[in-house]
């Protein structure tokens, strides 16, 4: 599973310059019989990067040998909060 989390770190929010794991956008990650399922959110409903980031997550997952297919569900409840960011992300954005 660690490899899958690492691969999600390749998916960056292109405006913020921080990956989606450190931003705290990924709520859940499961791998069952080659199918990866991600439950995630975005920093704001109606994020202009919605389709781009979801597409990126699927591409990153499906590039892994242990993943045959993937499913990404974007949820708004619970809503994202800045407290979900890692210390690295907060420091990068100048907010500590």
């Amino acid at each position: 599973m660690e490899a899958i989390w690492d691969c999600l770190k390749q998916v960056y929010d292109p405006e913020l310059g921080v990956n989606i794991v450190d931003l705290g956008l990924v709520y859940d990650l499961q791998l069952k019989e080659g199918k990866a399922s991600v439950v995630m959110t975005l920093t704001t409903p109606g994020c202009p990067m919605h389709d781009t980031i979801v597409g990126g997550v699927k591409r990153a997952l499906e590039a892994l040998p242990e993943v045959d297919s993937s499913e990404v569900e974007v949820v708004w409840d619970p809503a994202w909060s800045p407290s979900l960011m890692s210390d690295e992300a907060k420091e990068f954005l100048g907010y500590m």
Partner: protein
């Protein structure tokens, strides 16, 4: 969805560059003439190149780009209609500019009608999109009101164009002209910029948990201001009614600036980019100027009634607030558009540039600083009636603006 906003934005940038080139070719002497006699062929043509060819073109592109985003990825009612709208509006505007410059009245009347048809198609497309989505919030309400005022500005403009030809209305033409300015400059641009800022600024500042109550106050005050201001001209109301319209807009600007401070206080990103910082400062600056005008208006009614004062105030509002805010936003909108088109499909496949890599933020800041400084020189020249100073400031403004347009255009090479 990339091509439609791109088409409007690229046309807007070309119009902007053309406007600056024309200004450089006559060393901005047209601006001095505008200060002495605001309504003359070249003045009409240049102002409409800026307002329709650039600002409205960019604003329409931004609406096509941002409304589906605000509606949480609900698509536009019809992209085809968007392209037809572009055709009517672009051809109508181009013909209108030539009509103004040459004062060929049939040309003005017919192309004003084409441009107005374009505006109507835009309003229909956006109206159906919003009606279907049924997601009413401060951004969508502001956009809907803004586009309604654009229709009214277009209608009054088209009627003036027809009256140039048929010459039937006498002094009512001037009353219509005042309403045209209120609907277009304050209603359309003002509500669109304030409304989109409620989405753009929190997004780039990564603001979270800021109160949104003041947004509704701004919408109420701004609409009331536009309706009072435009009606005061349409019905030739006394000066205090005109002043009341201005008062409402000043109150709206104060509330808007306060709300931007709330967004800033709840930020989680220290540096949102120069464009976003400028947006906030421009709103504050415009608020201070508007308060000064409001307070001085009753004490100096003769100066306030002079056409030169109107030109100066118009230039501060249209260039200093609307134009510069659009330029500031473009430093984010263009990298976003291009990044999504070129690098969006590559996300998750390895290292790719971020949006910040597509434009040099330091250059953006320097350009905007020089543009603002040049604008001050223009205003100084107009205020003191010194054509040489106006010409110097206007030429600097054109040069720095051209460089900025180049900086924006270079994003498409990355």
């Amino acid at each position: 969805m990339f091509r439609l906003p791109f088409l409007f934005i690229i046309t807007g940038i070309i119009s902007f560059a053309l406007f600056q080139i024309f200004s450089l070719l006559d060393l901005a002497t047209w601006l001095s003439t505008l200060g002495d006699w605001p309504r003359y062929p070249t003045g009409w043509s240049r102002v409409h190149l800026l307002v329709l060819g650039w600002a409205t073109m960019i604003a329409m592109g931004a609406v096509y780009q941002l409304i589906p985003v605000v509606l949480q990825n609900q698509s536009l009612y019809s992209r085809k209609l968007g392209f037809v709208h572009y055709g009517f509006f672009a051809v109508g505007t181009a013909g209108l500019l030539i009509g103004f410059q040459t004062m060929l009245l049939p040309l003005i009347a017919s192309f004003a009608t084409l441009a107005f048809i374009g505006i109507l198609l835009f309003a229909i497309n956006l109206g159906i999109t919003l009606y279907r989505a049924k997601k009413w919030n401060t951004v969508t309400i502001s956009a809907a009101c803004a586009v309604s005022y654009l229709v009214l500005a277009g209608l009054s403009g088209m009627l003036m164009g027809l009256n140039f030809y048929f010459d039937q209305w006498g002094s009512y033409h001037d009353q219509l002209f005042g309403a045209h300015l209120w609907f277009g400059a304050i209603g359309w641009f003002g509500l669109l910029i304030t409304g989109f800022s409620y989405k753009m600024l929190p997004m780039f500042y990564l603001s979270h948990g800021h109160p949104e109550k003041l947004q509704k106050v701004v919408i109420g005050l701004w609409n009331a201001g536009v309706l009072v201001g435009a009606s005061s001209f349409l019905f030739n109301a006394p000066g205090w009614v005109k002043w009341s319209g201005l008062l409402l807009i000043v109150l709206a600007l104060i509330t808007y600036s306060l709300h931007l401070s709330e967004i800033y206080q709840h930020r989680h990103k220290l540096d949102p980019g120069a464009g976003m910082k400028w947006t906030q400062n421009l709103a504050r600056g415009m608020t201070v100027v508007a308060i000064l005008v409001l307070v001085l208006y009753p004490f100096f009614p003769e100066i306030m009634a002079e056409s030169r004062t109107y030109v100066i105030m118009g230039w501060i509002y249209l260039w200093g607030f609307i134009g510069l805010t659009l330029l500031s936003y473009l430093s984010k909108i263009i990298p976003f558009l291009w990044w999504t088109h070129k690098y969006g499909p590559l996300i998750g496949k390895g290292k790719i540039p971020t949006m910040a890599d597509l434009i040099n933020d330091r250059v953006v800041n320097i350009c905007l600083t020089v543009i603002v400084s040049s604008l001050f020189v223009v205003l100084l020249g107009l205020g003191w009636n010194q054509p040489i100073v106006t010409s110097l400031g206007g030429s600097l403004l054109a040069l720095s603006s051209l460089y900025y347009a180049g900086t924006l255009a270079r994003v498409f090479l990355k």
